[in-house]
Assembly symmetry: C2
């Protein structure tokens, strides 16, 4: 299927545009895939930060959402989402203790943790909060033992899913041996989600928390976790300068495309209309594009860029423009943009 192209001038650039048809197909496909394997789906909403999209995920069958911060949880609760997991080792200082107590009165709230000290603080709030133990992903970040973030490398998709299954099964066995029930075994980033082993396959993973799958991005395409036609979100940009034959300049810089460029990515984004072109340089408000031997646009042309990592793109803008059938039909607010606290 794929995104329907927009005519020139459909939006004022730079603009972040979501193709509603591709988004809908992505939401249905992941929901169906999780259901077939007997797993609950709790999408990570830090990717889209949008209440409109969270409600679409629930309508497609999600059991609730995941978020990264208490502030994101509050924003989504205010927008009517009733079951939220804060997938982060929240430290309940005085401010957060009061806010957790308030939030737990109005939604079903779960929180991540990786230390007895943090659990004691959560318990001291007196709030009815469900706690999930964070299992280290092998990345030496926070958490207590291996999980699938290291699927973000080429060739790591299948081994990461196997590592996840082994780590969650081992952690659950340990907890149950200590008399602690472990009914929720949650994992599954977008690259590894299709390979996570759920109950229908005799696997330990009861819940998936992918985020990026709603939109996909250039990283997922290069990792082989999505095709270009499955990318729902793109940045529309204008060529503002063609200063030399070996380059042209777009008005989409790091402040809209986001900064992420792992060493295994070919540039700072993909240009589907200019498949030989590479974004070789990225400044705050300029992308420098090397056209290669392919066609070159003229100053004033609007072109489409697929960003490398969509989570950081959405956090930079206040609105997602919605495209349906090649026309911009509305816009959705980025409900939880910047809610770091």
């Amino acid at each position: 299927m794929g995104r329907t192209p927009l005519p020139p001038g459909a939006v004022v650039t730079p603009a972040v545009v979501v193709d509603a048809a591709v988004l809908g197909a992505n939401l249905r496909a992941m929901a169906d895939s999780a259901a077939r394997r007997g797993m609950a789906l709790r999408p990570h909403a830090k990717t889209h930060k949008s209440a409109d999209i969270a409600h679409r995920q629930l309508a497609a069958g999600a059991a609730g959402i995941s978020v990264a911060t208490l502030g994101e949880a509050e924003a989504f609760a205010d927008a009517g989402i009733g079951d939220i997991f804060i997938a982060y080792p929240v430290w309940a200082d005085a401010d957060r203790a009061a806010r957790l107590r308030e939030l737990a009165t109005r939604i079903r709230l779960s929180v991540g943790t990786d230390s007895a000290a943090a659990v004691a603080r959560l318990a001291a709030t007196g709030a009815p909060i469900r706690v999930l133990v964070e299992v280290d992903c092998g990345l030496a970040r926070s958490g207590v033992a291996p999980f699938p973030v290291h699927s973000y490398e080429p060739g790591r998709l299948a081994p990461a899913a196997a590592d996840e299954a082994a780590a969650l099964a081992a952690a659950a066995t340990s907890l149950e041996a200590a008399g602690l029930p472990c009914p929720v075994r949650s994992g599954g980033s977008t690259p590894s989600a299709a390979r996570s082993a759920g109950p229908a396959d005799g696997g330990p993973v009861t819940e998936l928390r992918p985020g990026v799958y709603a939109f996909n991005d250039a990283q997922q395409v290069v990792l082989g976790a999505a095709t270009l036609d499955q990318v729902a979100l793109a940045v529309q940009a204008t060529v503002v300068s063609v200063p030399a034959a070996d380059r042209f300049i777009l008005d989409a810089g790091a402040k809209v495309l986001g900064p992420d460029r792992p060493a295994w990515m070919p540039g700072h984004g993909l240009l589907p209309g200019y498949p030989e072109a590479v974004i070789t340089g990225l400044w705050e408000h300029h992308a420098v594009v090397t056209p290669g031997s392919g066609p070159r646009p003229q100053a004033g042309d609007q072109i489409t860029v697929i960003p490398n990592h969509v989570c950081t793109v959405v956090n930079l803008v206040d609105w997602l423009y919605v495209a349906e059938g090649g026309a911009v039909t509305g816009r959705w607010p980025v409900t939880a943009r910047g809610r770091n606290v």
Copy 2:
């Protein structure tokens, strides 16, 4: 002088905090330095995006401000700033032509350009806009010949300022030979601004446009353009996890510290209270810190991080908290946050 430390709990973390005394000293020092050399000062406001700070810059003697986008110019004009240069090759499509016309009725407006086609579009708006020709900085971005952005490398400060003087003098000679007056010769990024050659020294640079100097950041410290005591902006963070002896985890990730890490920077920010510690990993909401042989904080401790590149930090938040004498006394809105269009 330096920032006055904040007591634990002064802000809910992660928070971006500006020390008002250090900010004031930075604004006065640059204004005095420009005036001594006979140069106008037109600070780049993309660094702070704050009307409160822009008004302080004008009060300290700035002639006007620079911005990166038309949307930033509109936001600052709405906040009462009357003389603005958009330091970017604006392409006047239909939307922007109308907005440029409107904006030029209420402020003194200047725009950058690097092509005859873009100038023709600006002229067709009919608006009384002053045009400055962008001279290429030697970075092969936009622009027409060398300017001081390449001062952002260790050891490049003096040569970058010399390159800038030569390039601006040559460009002005060319324009004047063609019968075009060139009264404004504008340059001077923060690292090179102290070395730009102005009229009082027989140099060609009539105007300085530094941005970062208002706050400074870890990059300026490593480049030798500022001391730690001249850094006005810091991120307050909380230790949320100490999962192992070789690391601790902060709640300040790339969504508040910003993503920038040039290869010549030692990590993803500096920790003045833990001078042997290095931020070795940065995720969206986690900083992974290696303490080295120095002290290690406990979970729940609040610590101070100096971000690598302050311009991208400010663009991620809605508020700058204001500290005076070791207490948080207020907050300023990030007036032009996200105004990319």
